[in-house]
Symmetry: C2
């Protein structure tokens, strides 16, 4: 994990080494200072840019290059307007910006520079900034625009007036980064202010690539011991960003007597609110979903899944309930209940069944069906070493093909992927259910997938990167850009804004008692958009009823505690869509089938119409 840094922002600094000393002595890790030294005279005469030559900043020799890299954020002048309708102002601003960016990169190639976004009119500014960034550009925006807040809360303004006359600052950022084509080297810096963002607005900021929070010194209040602290409300806001590994910049004058207290206080908050996440390190990484039907899992993967503290406990509970229902206390006998574990892997469900049998006092006979010959080796040694006194029998074959000597009372399986049916549990269980007695029980007995629309420029960029990587690899046949960006991924979603709550999509029941079994699906869902945002794709989840009220769920609002086996699914859309508050987002999802494969397709039909993604399974088929 990257250490959180706290940086001291000085709006005037003539002596940089001295400024760094001041910061270091007061517990700061770095300084942010204007690149233009106000002591130097700068001339931007009406000459071609090429021939301009002016001493307007410090010499690069005053610091070692590693200090330029690690200890300095170069703040570019903010008294420019590259989008001014006045051509002279515009050209002068462009020249200033290019000169300062070029000098900042001369000082340190891969360092940090910071600019300020002051309005929603930044097309040209964004274009110039994003032209060729070597390091990182921090784009600073107030978290809440005081003017906007005033207008929103002023009852004497008509609602229309407000919309026309003020944009919220997220819109400034969104226009800037859209014009900059979601450039990954541009990171967001939010400046804290007295006005508090709404909960919704805060949630949206948390879905953005926020690198730093600027805390101006006047935000601090004195506690009863006369130490500078932040208000509860502001602490709560910071706590959310700390969970996302955001850094901090304190903006204070060098004469401020509390410099050290500010830094220490922020570091204290970071310690206090740091969340220890067992999944740390997996945040927002893209993984290709497993296809256990055609790819035999390896030992490491089995091991990871077997470690889930919740999943097998729930299975055991479900089997216990089912056993008791099957054999009431009054009818306990020596006749065993037939349990088939289909897709047994290295045996965790067999273990759960045997435990359930012991706990309930019901005698069982377990058929262990597994198609992966490597896992069968493990199962065989388990039978020999641990279960030699149990009534268990290994059958090494695909559950869709085997012919058992008798029918089962209980069919137990764990074929569910991050999206429920995406490891083809419906197809497998439809094949296996012929071995279940007419009144037999399937565990699980139902699975439901859920989706919701999300904004995440981080994930959008990861998907784009995959596409670029693939394209430069000549071994991969490339149909077109769009087919490549249409893979669905398994992701531990973190730097994401959930545009609306998840809704149920596809449901499958086991055993499936339909006259004609058809596992294809098509559903259209409508989501209400509550605030302006950008659609980058859809997150997918599932829940499954194992038996009666025993449910495993990855649905964000109903997530089973400590369940770590499944991350979310992510369905990207090729081109980001700008959405407005009040839009009714209409989304289509299909589950399609052919003789060899199963696949999902998805599209939007309102307010923007997209093409059908993964059409005909061209990007990510699931092989049967």
């Amino acid at each position: 994990m990257i250490k959180t840094y706290v940086c001291l922002y000085q709006q005037h600094a003539t002596d940089l080494p001295e400024c760094i000393d001041l910061a270091t002595n007061n517990c700061y890790d770095a300084v942010a200072i204007p690149i233009v030294n106000t002591l130097f005279y700068r001339e931007l005469a009406a000459q071609p840019i090429k021939s301009r030559h002016a001493v307007f900043s410090r010499s690069d020799l005053i610091l070692k290059s590693t200090d330029w890299l690690h200890k300095v954020i170069s703040v570019l002048s903010d008294n420019i307007d590259c989008d001014s309708p006045d051509e002279e102002v515009r050209r002068h601003s462009e020249a200033t910006l290019i000169q300062e960016m070029s000098f900042a990169e001369h000082l340190v190639q891969h360092g940090h520079m910071m600019v300020r976004i002051k309005s929603g009119r930044t097309v040209n500014f964004a274009r110039l900034i994003s032209r060729s960034i070597k390091g990182t550009v921090l784009a600073a925006v107030p978290m809440v625009d005081p003017n906007y807040m005033k207008q929103v809360w002023r009852s004497d303004c008509a609602e229309d007036d407000v919309e026309g006359s003020a944009e919220d600052t997220w819109t400034w950022w969104n226009k800037f980064r859209t014009a900059a084509d979601f450039n990954t080297k541009i990171k967001l810096v939010l400046e804290l202010s007295e006005d508090l963002p709404s909960k919704e607005s805060l949630r949206r900021w948390l879905g953005e690539p926020v690198e730093c929070i600027i805390v101006p010194s006047h935000m601090f209040v004195r506690n009863k011991n006369n130490y500078p602290v932040l208000s509860k409300a502001h602490q709560e806001i910071l706590s959310k960003f700390i969970g996302n590994n955001t850094h901090f910049i304190v903006k204070a004058s060098r004469e401020d007597g509390s410099l050290r207290h500010y830094a220490e206080y922020i570091k204290h908050l970071v310690e206090k609110f740091k969340v220890v996440d067992p999944m740390q390190g997996f945040d927002d990484l893209l993984e290709i979903p497993l296809q256990p039907l055609i790819d035999d899992l390896d030992s490491y993967t089995y091991e990871v899944f077997e470690k889930d503290p919740t999943k097998y406990k729930f299975y055991q509970d479900a089997i216990e309930l089912a056993l008791v229902d099957r054999v009431p206390d009054s009818k306990i006998s020596n006749k065993p209940v037939i349990i088939m574990v289909v897709g047994a892997g290295r045996g965790p469900l067999v273990r759960a069944a045997l435990n359930a049998s012991a706990n309930t006092g019901r005698k069982i006979k377990v058929y262990i069906i597994e198609k992966n010959p490597n896992a069968v080796v493990t199962l065989t040694s388990l039978v020999e070493e641990l279960w030699s006194d149990k009534d268990v029998q290994i059958i090494s074959c695909d559950m869709r093909d085997f012919t058992p000597p008798e029918k089962a009372d209980i069919l137990v399986s764990e074929l569910l992927g991050s999206f429920g049916d995406n490891e083809l549990s419906p197809e497998c269980l439809d094949g296996a259910q012929k071995h279940l007695k007419p009144d037999g029980i399937s565990i699980p007995c139902r699975s439901t997938s859920y989706v919701n629309p999300v904004m995440s420029s981080k994930i959008y960029n990861l998907v784009r990167q995959v596409v670029v990587d693939r394209c430069t690899n000549p071994r991969e046949k490339m149909h077109s850009y769009s087919t490549q960006a249409e893979n669905n991924y398994v992701v531990y979603l973190k730097n994401v804004y959930h545009i609306a709550e998840p809704q149920a999509l596809f449901e499958f029941n086991h055993p499936n008692k339909d006259k004609v079994i058809d596992n294809s699906r098509y559903k259209t869902l409508t989501f209400e958009v509550t605030q302006d945002c950008v659609l980058h794709g859809f997150a997918g989840y599932f829940d499954t009823i194992l038996y009666k009220d025993i449910v495993l769920s990855t649905h964000p609002q109903m997530h089973s505690k400590s369940l770590v086996s499944w991350f979310s699914m992510f369905f990207p859309i090729t081109e980001p869509q700008q959405l407005k508050a009040g839009d009714m987002l209409e989304v289509n999802f299909w589950r399609c089938l052919s003789s060899q494969k199963v696949w999902y397709e998805w599209s939007t039909s309102h307010p923007h119409m997209s093409h059908v993604h993964n059409h005909n399974g061209r990007a990510c088929p699931i092989y049967k």
Copy 2:
């Protein structure tokens, strides 16, 4: 040129060979008939699609495969609704569609099938159709929806009602093809009706890939000789499509006594309205703009340009005017007027200058400056063989570098590309103008570029194809899809809808008397969208004032007669944008410079925000 075909559409046909005979005997080239023979019984029971097996159509053996290919359009059943909210209807419709498409492709792999679009709710229909088209799918839409027309003209409906309750049929088509991702194998068929489309709406249809027009027999009226003809208004509509090489389908009953007359009449119209276009064959083809500064032109290219019947005549006129202004009749003497032809190529401007001299009786001395050593060979032989008695001198070097023995009265050049300055005339002439006397004349003296937004799914698809072709070519380094789709092209625009009139963009004056010469430009233009449409990119044009009122123009409304040297420029946008009537489309264009190159960038900022195309010249730099 492909021969226009006229096809006979029979809504009921039991005997196909006999039907083809009937058509052939009556002057038709092909027949369109339902794929489902109504005489056969069809069963679509509630069985999985795989196991369904029904005899519902004709045997493939009744025709030779070449006849299936060239003489039959298979019309699919239109009593289905693949987007029905009723799941049973939907599943039944899907099964019917898949069965019929599969059978149509069994009959002939690369043939034509026709479907009917009946509403704007076709996401699933479009998805299924576009899944794997081998031949061509004709999508039939009424040119004007009678219901829509009724509502538009009914004064008792509030305007809002109309919008909510009826879409025009272009919207049906647009939703369908957008969901089908602008699939090139889906072509549009328009059915003529009594209601006439508005002029604007007709212009929009003409920008679509219209393959055929259906003319129902009841559209014909009797002329004074009792022959069936179409009304003047309908003839005028057809005349426009004939210019775009559209085919025809006559829908008539086999008992209709006028079958032959219909076919003959349509063929007569095709002959009558066919436009002989000298540029035939170049329609909508993408060409990479020439870069004559770094690539020496070849002899063929020079020859093509020299053949322009208008351009050099205009130049000669301009030089004559300039000569007369320079030397009034009263001051004619033996002192020659110094003319420099910069970038002389194989000499057409020298010829124009010498003609102008002869016509006006003004003595001239011509310096011929040309950097291409191959063209200098031609020039040298011209001097020896034709101009040996003229005062001409060849200087073989770049106009930006040479040092002439004296200054010029008139500087003549033809460095203009399709977008005016895109062959770097500003940079070249700025370099050459130091050799012009302070009161000297530059021909041309001003150039202005123009752009307008256009819809053209044909050109959009050609651009996409270039991108796909490049991606599969491992020799080309691929940054990402978007950079590849950002080339600008030279195109003879034909199958295009002009969303709004062109507006002036960049202007350059010669000689350039600015104190500081800066040829970079940035301009934002706003276009009003008059009807719903799709933005695929921008067309570029230019005009140039050679001298006084002598103007060469490729601006569509002011195009110089017979001027063929320049096609339009096309600036694509990576992702099509759906626009609505009333939208104010805001477009940004930049002309950028660095020490080695010049390039354009472009983006939209309203109502949809795009990234900046060709950012930093990544796709199509123009080298100095």
